[in-house]
Structures are given as structure tokens and as C-alpha cells.
């Protein structure tokens, strides 16, 4: 459960993501493809070379969606309903992969925020991304 303090921390961190959506999103995806090669199986149609337009575009899309989730932390199920349908019925991404992307996105935040990525922030963000992943997997069965 996200506490009021968690939400404050998440919002504060998200303020620092502003203006870097594409960079952070692309880096998270890049790290995921390198660290967890099986995740590439979902992108046979992509140019996966570093800095590719497709990765940058997709990274920006993912981070913007997370941004919407940040704005709707009190109502994730409703806010992410469309994306939940998409992942369940069209994309059919195995939910274990959400955890892998979450790990990589947190690595990106830690790399760019350094000491500001405190244990408190880490904990709050991990909870938030887990909640998002749970909603995305809601309609799978």
C-alpha cells in the first residue's frame, strides 16, 4: 500500500524525471535488452541498436505512461485500464518482464539521481512500480 509519504517521495522524484522522459525511457529499455536478453523477443520488429529512434520513441511512451500513473496513484486500476487491456489481449507480455523493466528503470533513476535515490525513495518507487505491474497484469486471466 502506498502511504502518503511514499506518494510524496514518488512525486518529488518524478519532478526530476521531467524533461528526461525520452532519455530515461530509452536507457531503461537498453539496459533491459542488455541485462535480460530474452526481453528482446517482444521486439523482433525493432531496430535494437543503441540510440535507435524506435527505442527512444518507445522509451518516451513508457515513461509518459508511468507519468500518468504517478498522477493517478489513488486510482491506478482505472487510469491504466486501457494499457491493462493492451498488455493482456494484444501484447501478451509475460508479467515477469514487468519486474525486469522495473528493475532497469530503477537502475536508471539510481544512476542519474545518485545519493538522492535513498533507501526511502527506493522503497517507495519499488512499491509504486510493483503496483503498476500488478494493474497491467490484472486482466490476463
Amino acid at each position: 500500500m502506498l502511504t502518503a509519504d511514499d506518494k510524496k517521495l514518488i512525486q518529488a522524484i518524478w519532478d526530476k524525471v521531467q524533461g528526461h522522459q525520452e532519455d530515461f525511457g530509452a536507457e531503461a529499455l537498453q539496459r533491459m535488452f542488455i541485462t535480460y536478453p530474452p526481453t528482446k523477443t517482444y521486439f523482433p520488429h525493432f531496430d535494437l541498436s543503441p540510440g535507435s529512434d524506435q527505442i527512444r520513441g518507445h522509451g518516451k511512451k513508457v515513461v509518459n505512461a508511468l507519468g500518468n500513473a504517478v498522477k493517478s496513484m489513488d486510482n491506478l486500476s482505472q487510469a491504466l485500464s486501457e494499457l491493462s487491456n493492451l498488455h493482456a489481449y494484444n501484447l501478451r507480455v509475460d508479467p515477469v518482464n514487468f519486474k525486469l523493466l522495473s528493475q532497469c528503470f530503477q537502475v536508471v533513476l539510481a544512476v542519474h539521481l545518485g545519493k538522492e535515490y535513498t533507501p526511502e525513495v527506493h522503497s517507495a518507487f519499488d512499491k509504486f512500480l510493483s503496483a503498476v505491474a500488478a494493474v497491467l497484469a490484472e486482466k490476463y486471466r
Binding site: 536507457e27 541485462t35 528493475q103 537502475v107 544512476v111 535515490y117 533507501p119 522503497s123
Partner: protein, 142 residues
């Protein structure tokens, strides 16, 4: 036996050589890991309490020192952790899922300390290492 490329070994040891053996970030990110295993540690009520707790710091040092042993023995991690595996199963009763959790959290802590030096290639090598260590620690469970 795990195969390590020369590059992977280099990435692991170069990061390790700069690690000052501390592990403050770990317990607060996964609080459910605390209760049974660290009941004797005193105040673990909040991330701030955890970070300041000397028993946590001491244990963090112990865990990271053990990682250091793995890094010195990359070609023989299974043997290096055989006794610890038995200990975690028979005496400590730790669910091996916690080894994976700890590994992931260690990666994030390294990322925050090394920033851009923690490149994707570095992350790959380290993620492989924590996965091998977790596997070795779980290997003697019965």
C-alpha cells in the same frame, strides 16, 4: 560451471575494487525480509532507523565481504558458498527468493553510487553475478 568472459570479470572486479564495504540501502526496500531473520537487530522500524542501526551495518559488511569471496573465486562460486548454503537452509531457514531480492537491491545501490560508471555492460555482469550467487546459496537446500 558458469562461464565468465574476460570482460565480465573485469567489470565485476573493477567495480568491486571501489566498493567501500557498506550496505545501508538493503533492508528498507524489502521490509518483509527483516522480521524473522533480523529480530535481534533492534530498531528496524523505518528506513532511517535501519540505515543508522549498527547491527545492520555490521551484517551488511558481513554479506558484502562474502560477496568479495565470490568475486575472488568467480570460477568456483558453488564450492565457495556450499557451507553458507547449508547454513541458510538448516539454521537460518531463509527462503532463497530473498537472495534474489537482495541481489537486485545491491544492483540499485551500486547504480546510485557509481552513476554513469555503472554502464549497461556493468549491470549485465553484476546481474549475472548476483544471480549465480543466489543460485549457489540455494543449491544445498533440502
Amino acid at each position: 560451471m558458469v562461464h565468465w568472459t574476460a570482460e565480465e570479470k573485469q567489470l565485476i572486479t573493477s567495480v568491486w575494487s571501489k566498493v567501500n564495504v557498506q550496505l545501508p540501502g538493503v533492508c528498507s526496500a524489502a521490509p518483509w525480509t527483516e522480521k524473522p531473520f533480523f529480530a535481534s537487530f533492534g530498531n528496524l522500524s523505518s528506513p532511517t532507523a535501519i540505515v543508522g542501526n549498527p547491527k545492520v551495518r555490521a551484517h551488511g559488511r558481513k554479506v558484502l565481504t562474502s560477496f568479495g569471496e565470490a568475486i575472488k573465486n568467480l570460477d568456483n562460486i558453488k564450492a565457495t558458498y556450499a557451507k553458507l548454503s547449508e547454513l541458510h537452509c538448516e539454521k537460518l531457514h531463509v527462503d532463497p527468493e530473498n537472495f534474489r531480492l537482495l541481489g537486485d537491491i545491491l544492483i540499485i545501490v551500486l547504480a546510485s553510487h557509481f552513476a554513469r560508471d555503472f554502464t549497461p555492460a556493468c549491470q549485465f555482469a553484476w546481474q549475472k553475478l548476483v544471480s549465480v550467487v543466489a543460485h549457489a546459496l540455494a543449491r544445498k537446500y533440502h
